[in-house]
């Protein structure tokens, strides 16, 4: 016997106070693995209620329900997913697909209750103990079921673009369009944000299916200007796009253009519905812009005989005279207008209501009148020297460019303003070889112009001078009438009232000046209401006709009812809103003519 044999039994006692390797029973806590797929969590503020989780769920375990305290608004349905754990199989596809990335899973999996109905709840809205848990399943970094990147749009390079009036955006090929259309999850959040409430998921599906006739039919249900809107729409839909909550929004505008570009005008009639039988009613429309012609299209579909009166020598309104051809080529616009005319809509070009024909005569000769005259009068700079011969009006410059007239802007041009007209005027001047300064009284981020337009204007070589308050325009020394001095005051942005946007305040003494051959004022436009006489009975408040929800301004005795819409009436002042107004008025006029809405 060895001495060790005696000691060994006692030697194990030294382990008695060490931490055991085995698990102590009974087991009280059973923590899930760090990436365990347990009960769901949802960041209800980041969630946009698109329902993609519901659509992908393989077990029909998710419902979208109104969430307390959340209202529907642009880009958010106000709905949130409710999960039924009687069906959930914990596969986490909902987490993997979630466009906003708001949905995740905790690693909590133990929950005992006698009431089976509690296992159905709205994560992030109904508080649960595991809310905010750092552990659990998250979509892995870089792992996406949805493509967060938009298919790049082929565009001219800036150097090439500025040398000509060629269209900048080239348009998608079939493969590109179908790939981009594939990114859409058909949630429909965009529809509410579109002023015309176009069936966007529907026509994107048509692109995916390669069914252009169906796509065109869906476009024309709410918008007879797909070529124009497919290029220059303010695309509020894309701001609402759920895919945009976690990546680039779907290129909705460009997919619209793709559909319209694919179908030849001669094939439109095959794809689009026929109009109703002639009603025997006549409607006059004042202004052949997008709003007026939209009303004309829908009225003509309802069988009414439509005559559109246009003061300019060509139809299209601001789409033709306000938007340069590198953004909207005339053949594309002519295609939209050509189809409307092909339905029998008559456009009297070069006829000015109020000069050539009185409004009262239209009220006598027609069964209804729609006013869609827009905002043709440019605001002045309202500083001393604003009537200097070298101070030009932005809209007029763009219109002259459309007509192909010599602009004579000179080599150095200042554009005053921050809207789309300012950007278009600046880029037109650049294409005429000028060096261009854009002066704006606030900051770049305050500019009402589309961000794309501002970015492109800068890329093409325009210099942006922010926080410049116009003070005066003076004759340039030694070049009276040929060039002008533009004098401005540098400003600083001051937050005057909380919650409102900051106001530019001049910095004392910081007065600057620049010498320019032309100064293009593009600081907004107003209406010309001179053609409306008091006897026409159209109520006007703050320089706008007052209308009801269908756009009706008056049905006073002594003539046909008068409707109005477009920039003349609405606040949004873009083509798609004018088109929506025109459609609404067409419905209103139709109801009135048939005595439906009386």
């Amino acid at each position: 016997m060895d001495i060790k044999d005696f000691i060994a039994p006692f030697a194990v006692w030294k382990r008695a106070f060490e931490k055991p390797f085995t698990v102590k029973k009974p087991i009280d806590e059973r923590p899930g693995a760090p990436r365990y797929r347990g009960f769901h969590m949802n960041d209800a503020d980041a969630c946009v209620g698109c329902g993609t989780c519901e659509a992908i769920c393989m077990n029909n375990a998710i419902d979208l329900v109104p969430a307390a305290g959340r209202e529907a608004k642009d880009g958010d349905s106000g709905l949130r997913p409710r999960i039924d754990y009687g069906r959930c199989c914990w596969c986490a596809l909902c987490v993997d697909i979630c466009p906003s990335g708001s949905l995740s899973m905790s690693n909590e999996y133990v929950w005992i209750d006698r009431d089976p109905d509690v296992f159905r709840y709205v994560p992030g809205v109904e508080a649960k103990p595991w809310d905010g848990s750092a552990l659990g399943y998250r979509r892995a970094e870089g792992y996406r079921l949805l493509d967060e990147d938009r298919v790049p749009m082929p565009e001219l390079g800036h150097a090439e673009a500025v040398a000509s009036f060629l269209e900048l955006v080239r348009g998608y090929s079939r493969a590109q369009a179908e790939k981009e259309a594939d990114r859409c999850v058909s949630c429909g959040l965009c529809i509410a944000s579109c002023p015309a409430h176009m069936d966007i998921p529907g026509y994107i599906k048509a692109v995916r299916d390669g069914d252009m006739d169906e796509g065109l039919r869906l476009l024309y249900e709410t918008n007879p200007f797909p070529e124009a809107c497919g290029r220059v729409c303010t695309h509020r839909c894309e701001e609402a796009c759920s895919i945009g909550s976690g990546g680039d929004p779907v290129a909705i505008r460009w997919l619209k253009r793709y559909i319209a570009d694919q179908v030849e005008l001669s094939d439109y009639a095959k794809a689009l519905p026929r109009g109703a039988a002639p009603s025997g009613k006549k409607v006059a429309i004042v202004g052949a812009g997008p709003g007026g012609l939209s009303a004309a299209y829908y009225l003509s579909m309802q069988g009414h005989a439509v005559t559109v009166f246009e003061a300019e020598e060509a139809a299209g309104g601001m789409l033709r005279y306000g938007i340069p051809e590198y953004r909207l080529p005339y053949p594309a616009l002519d295609k939209d207008i050509g189809y409307i005319e092909s339905l029998g809509v008559s456009i009297s070009r070069g006829v000015s209501i109020g000069k050539d024909i009185e409004l009262s005569k239209l009220r006598t000769d027609f069964d209804a009148v729609y006013l869609s005259t827009g905002l043709p009068v440019a605001y002045g700079l309202e500083v001393p020297g604003e009537d200097h011969p070298r101070v030009l009006d932005g809209v007029a410059v763009l219109a002259r460019a459309t007509r192909g007239e010599e602009l004579g802007l000179g080599g150095r041009v200042a554009v005053i303003g921050g809207g789309n007209v300012a950007m278009d005027a600046a880029r037109t001047a650049l294409r005429h070889g000028a060096t261009v300064d854009i002066l704006y009284r606030r900051r770049e981020e305050d500019m009402p112009a589309d961000a794309d337009e501002v970015r492109e204007a800068k890329a093409e070589g325009a210099r942006l001078v922010e926080k410049a308050i116009p003070l005066e325009v003076r004759d340039a020394p030694d070049a009276a009438g040929e060039a002008a001095l533009f004098i401005w005051n540098e400003a600083t942005m001051v937050q005057k009232e909380p919650g409102k946007r900051p106001v530019p305040e001049p910095i004392p003494g910081a007065v600057r000046e620049g010498r320019y051959d032309s100064i293009i004022a593009a600081i907004g436009q107003g209406p010309d209401l001179s053609f409306i006489a008091e006897s026409d009975g159209v109520p006007v408040k703050r320089f706008r006709p007052v209308v009801d929800s269908f756009g009706m301004a008056t049905r006073a005795a002594g003539g046909a009812p008068v409707f109005a819409g477009g920039d003349l009436v609405n606040d949004r002042k873009d083509a798609i809103s004018a088109i929506a107004d025109g459609h609404r008025a067409a419905i209103g006029i139709d109801r009135l003519l048939y005595g439906k809405g009386a």
């Binding site: 329902g51 329900v65 529907a72 349905s77 106000g78 429909g188 509410a192």
Partner: protein, 177 residues
């Protein structure tokens, strides 16, 4: 490695040798040769260990791809052998006599993909899906939603909302007219 690739190609018509990493490669063989290839790799090429086996449903080309992951512990290298089997008639030789643990994997694949391994012990017994009567659920044409709709009752009180219709109702109800 290239020696082995040539050897496998010459003996068993193996193809598509692909070096995934310095110490890991894959190769494709015909399913009919799988037992011979495995025996050779185990006894002659040093791949003494079967790490795992699994299957992939390549429904597009009408095949299940069986994947056998082998390991040579001495040389510290791995080899994955792929073999396509006809999806319409998925039957493959069992390798449980080469590696005893293979029967467990084969029983799993029988249950989850419906691939048969004749002679493999207990291959037709339930593996993890107790009482399962549906089609093999790892097949990609298994419609999970249709299965749960047909199998499980809907709890009363469930209601859902379409985002677009809900927003129209709340934001522009006049368009619904």
């Amino acid at each position: 490695m290239n020696e082995l690739a040539k050897e496998l190609a010459g003996r068993y018509g193996a193809r598509g040798w692909h070096d995934i990493r310095k110490d890991l490669a894959s190769v494709e063989v015909d399913a009919i040769r799988i037992r011979d290839v495995m025996a050779y790799l185990r006894d002659e090429a040093g791949y003494g260990h079967l790490s795992f086996m699994t299957a992939i449903d390549n429904i597009e080309r009408g095949a299940f791809t069986l994947s056998y992951a082998l390991r040579d512990h001495d040389a510290r290298r791995g080899l994955i052998v792929h073999a396509d089997v006809d999806r319409a008639e998925p039957t493959v030789d069992s390798i449980h006599l080469l590696w005893g643990q293979a029967w467990t994997y084969q029983r799993e694949m029988r249950e989850w993909f419906g691939i048969d391994f004749p002679g493999s012990p207990r291959v037709d017994e339930e593996f993890v899906l107790e009482g399962w009567e549906g089609p093999p659920m790892m097949r990609r044409d298994f419609d999970s939603l249709a299965y749960s709709d047909a199998t499980y009752a809907e709890r009363p009180g469930r209601v859902t909302h379409d985002p677009a219709s809900h927003m129209r109702e709340k934001l522009y109800p006049e368009a619904a007219q």
